[in-house]
Subunit: 212 residues, 2 copies
């Protein structure tokens, strides 16, 4: 059994997006080179990426757009849409609750928690905000495995721990990850400051090149 590059996994969802787009344009068969164009990557990479999971194409023809999309959705376990618990209904949390596309894409925020009394009981989108005190109980009873952490940095390690104890095994956090979690729990941090810093580094370099 060959090991699958992490980068390959990261490209699967963008492939789905491209396929949906092609499908809307009425394309029902696509070659690796056409798909590569749309995704701005190398055709060989696309073929290799798919090859880790099976034989999806027809030689001389290409890939069936619809079938390929479904294959990838299967690989990523996106059908039926996964239930997600949102912790922290501040501005970011609210934005996520109101973002319509998630469900289409394969995730559905079905529960939201906050500890501010004036928020508890209010409904945003389809979801009623619940009391953080019931977090463990509710997450367990709904058998939630995925969760988005959009709370202040200071409390995020504590809550991450509580989620882990309640059986969640993947967390997307908006606080920079110093969360030392057991390694059966996957954590991804959306670290805006680091991304900003990277951009600044490269754009300053670009300036230097221009000035030369």
């Amino acid at each position: 059994m060959k090991s699958i590059p992490n980068e390959t996994i990261g490209r699967l969802f963008p492939y789905i997006r491209a396929l949906v787009c092609l499908s809307k344009q009425g394309t029902d068969t696509v070659s690796s080179s056409r798909l590569a164009e749309v995704c701005h990557v190398n055709p060989a990479m696309i073929r290799k990426d798919f090859s880790y999971f099976g034989y999806f194409g027809k030689r001389g023809v290409g890939y069936d757009v619809q079938a390929l999309k479904e294959e990838i959705q299967n690989i990523l376990s996106l059908k039926p849409a996964k239930k997600v618990a949102l912790i922290g209904v501040g501005n970011i949390g609210k934005a996520l609750l109101l973002y319509k596309n998630f469900e289409l894409e394969g995730f559905k925020i079905t529960m939201a928690f906050d500890n501010q009394p004036n928020k508890i009981g209010r409904k945003i989108g389809d979801v009623t905000i619940e009391d953080m005190g019931n977090l463990e109980k509710r997450v367990k009873s709904e058998n939630i495995q995925l969760s988005i952490l959009a709370v202040p940095e200071t409390v995020s390690p504590t809550i991450a721990r509580r989620l882990a104890d309640a059986g969640v095994n993947a967390i997307l956090s908006f606080a920079p990850c110093q969360l030392a979690m057991p390694d059966n729990i996957k954590v991804t941090c959306v670290d805006l400051s680091t991304e900003m810093a990277r951009l600044i580094y490269y754009s300053s370099r670009e300036d230097l090149v221009k000035k030369r």
Copy 2:
């Protein structure tokens, strides 16, 4: 001239965070192995990362926490804090405007734009929301190079183009990047759906392993 890994650049900001943290704890000298512990990485990687930029340590001793922090801030051009224009003051935009740490970290949102009349003129945090119609004029007059795009997916390519024309050379976007920009413009997309999909993939695998 040796080329510097993109990954190295991406680790510089987290190093600053760790150094600030150590500094608060009263540490003023740190070895690569101690810093590696804090950052959960390999000590050799830390030494190699720094070696791309110069000789910052003392053999047998370690690194001066304060001096190293400042060196990295210099490399990333974070001092003085960079001015940033925010486009789109929805929930995400609002969250960013109210996020206090940015300025400390080296970025400062100094302008915000929206096209909704009821938002224009309102002040959030320190910033008064301006009319999107004045985008080019204002970005040019303030000589803004960095910008955060927090607008609906459908309009983001158009606005990205307008920003590029107005002289911005780096964009952080919250819409998935199909933005085909000239390559002197750096674009980073914060793609939550892709990160969610990746988490789901690995956490489902984890399940399989457990069940085995």
